[in-house]
């Protein structure tokens, strides 16, 4: 189906308040999260939102702090849109989509301060590096919200390695300190309609996208994407809807 026809079909449905998979405009697809799925990882989670599936893992290592934040741990978030997970994705180094997704997930985790990096310093001046890597297993839209849930779940269940005499000992030690929970809700704008948790067909025809990262009823990150635009009213509406979703999303994080 060409993109133009798909867009027309989707818009026709939206005019009647319907989505292509039968959901309401403010409905997420079914979410499930499974943690501890990779024993070798310090923490891991497999997240499904509808048929979108991502796996997120946390690995920790010891390294040098950034010069301007001595004594603070370093949090790094990566994302690979694997060619395995969608016909459209290509092999090779991360493209602009993967980079944006990783940086938006990173932004919500980082700005929500759920990982107290100031507690991740070590006695010898070194610090813990926390690598959070997401891989798409099946990509069917809304990778940011899935990745954010996965990152959060992996961090919350991560157990730190030990560090003795300048060496990392890979035995699960105490839990990684995590002081709260952050989630993200992403909306697509299609011909004036605003719908949450777009699946891939919706993303392929949307005008614009807004991701809202949240913690404790506050907004910690925003990212508008897509070639189109939003009105002031639409943005305010998405804030209200996102904050209502926050509670529901948090239920999936234990």
């Amino acid at each position: 189906m060409s993109n133009n026809i798909l867009r027309k079909n989707i818009i026709d449905l939206l005019k009647g308040g319907q989505r292509i998979d039968g959901r309401g405009l403010d409905d997420f697809r079914k979410i499930s999260i499974q943690t501890g799925v990779v024993e070798k990882a310090e923490g891991s989670a497999l997240v499904n939102i509808g048929s979108t599936q991502v796996i997120v893992g946390v690995k920790m290592d010891v390294g040098e702090p950034f010069p301007d934040t001595p004594g603070e741990g370093v949090l790094m978030t990566g994302a690979e849109l694997t060619a395995m997970s969608n016909e459209e994705f290509e092999r090779g180094p991360p493209g602009e989509d993967a980079i944006e997704i990783a940086r938006v997930i990173d932004r919500t985790i980082r700005e929500s301060k759920v990982v107290p990096v100031e507690k991740l310093g070590l006695d010898d001046g070194k610090v813990w590096m926390v690598f959070v890597d997401m891989y798409t297993m099946n990509a069917d839209g809304n990778l940011i919200d899935a990745g954010t849930l996965g990152a959060m779940a992996a961090l919350m269940t991560a157990r730190m390695p030990k560090y003795e005499d300048g060496k990392v000992i890979r035995e699960p030690g105490k839990a990684l300190p995590v002081t709260g929970k952050a989630v993200a809700a992403t909306f697509a704008g299609i011909n004036g309609h605003i719908l949450v948790d777009p699946e891939e067909r919706e993303e392929s025809v949307m005008d614009a996208r807004l991701t809202i990262g949240m913690r404790d009823g506050k907004i910690v990150a925003l990212q508008k994407g897509g070639n189109g635009s939003f009105t002031d009213e639409q943005i305010e509406g998405m804030f209200d809807r996102a904050l209502a979703h926050e509670k529901k999303l948090l239920k999936h994080l234990k």
Partner: protein, 242 residues
């Protein structure tokens, strides 16, 4: 530099500005001879040059679109535009900013008038004192107009942030500069298509309530008019001369 005790005190920000006050702003048009259009914009010490080439042949071929032009913004920083030397070449941050800048212009520029071509908007940060992407967006907007590329509207941006005083009270403030970017509690990049009021760019890092955000956005909307007028003035000056 240590975190300061306050970013706002006695009605003044660290550089003496009021909450809704802009840094000194300068816009110069036609700064790069070889480009079809170009502009340099300064917001205080932040200085960014933008140049436009195209519509022109597009490489590689697989990017060509039969019904419109591909507009791409390319944001980068000079290695010496920041405190610690930036390694030459775009990193992940630059790739992301280039993407959101590209997207900010695509619904505004009449791309369907130039099928099968490319329009390149180069944005180089000469000196960085925060708000570089928005300064670059404002420069790019002027450069596109200077290049004579048809747009539904000028694109105009401002940043706003959340800062604190010595009592711990917080305030929203427009046009964030470096210490506010680094130590403030939120940092928003925000741009509109002026004629229609559509939001074409929106990014935030930080921690705000919805109400705080809306308050800052209101200040920003007002400040945007000032920026827009400066953009128009700069463009007029060059067309009067030419």
């Amino acid at each position: 530099m240590e975190k300061p005790e306050y970013l706002f005190k006695n009605g003044k920000r660290l550089d003496g500005r009021k909450l809704d006050e802009f840094r000194k702003m300068k816009i110069k048009v036609d700064v790069i001879d070889n480009a079809e259009g170009s502009a340099e914009v300064e917001f205080g010490k932040t200085r960014v040059v933008a140049a436009v080439y195209g519509p022109r042949e597009l490489h590689p071929k697989h990017l060509v679109m039969s019904d419109r032009a591909l507009l791409r913004a390319h944001y980068d920083m000079l290695s010496f535009s920041v405190e610690d030397r930036k390694r030459p070449g775009p990193g992940r941050r630059e790739v992301e900013i280039s993407k959101v800048l590209s997207e900010a212009f695509r619904s505004v520029v009449a791309l369907d008038r130039f099928p099968r071509t490319g329009i390149d908007v180069f944005v180089k940060v000469v000196q960085a004192d925060a708000s570089t992407r928005i300064t670059g967006l404002n420069a790019a907007s002027v450069a596109l107009a200077h290049a004579g590329i048809p747009m539904r509207s000028m694109v105009t941006g401002v940043t706003f942030g959340k800062i604190y005083d010595d009592k711990g009270k917080t305030y929203m403030a427009v046009d964030v500069f470096k210490p506010e970017d680094q130590w403030g509690m939120a940092d928003v990049a925000y741009a509109k298509a002026w004629n229609t009021g559509e939001v074409v760019l929106l990014q935030m890092d930080g921690d705000v309530t919805k109400e705080e955000f809306m308050e800052g956005k209101k200040m920003a909307d007002k400040a945007m008019e000032y920026v827009y007028k400066e953009q128009v003035k700069a463009l007029k000056s060059v067309y009067e001369v030419e």
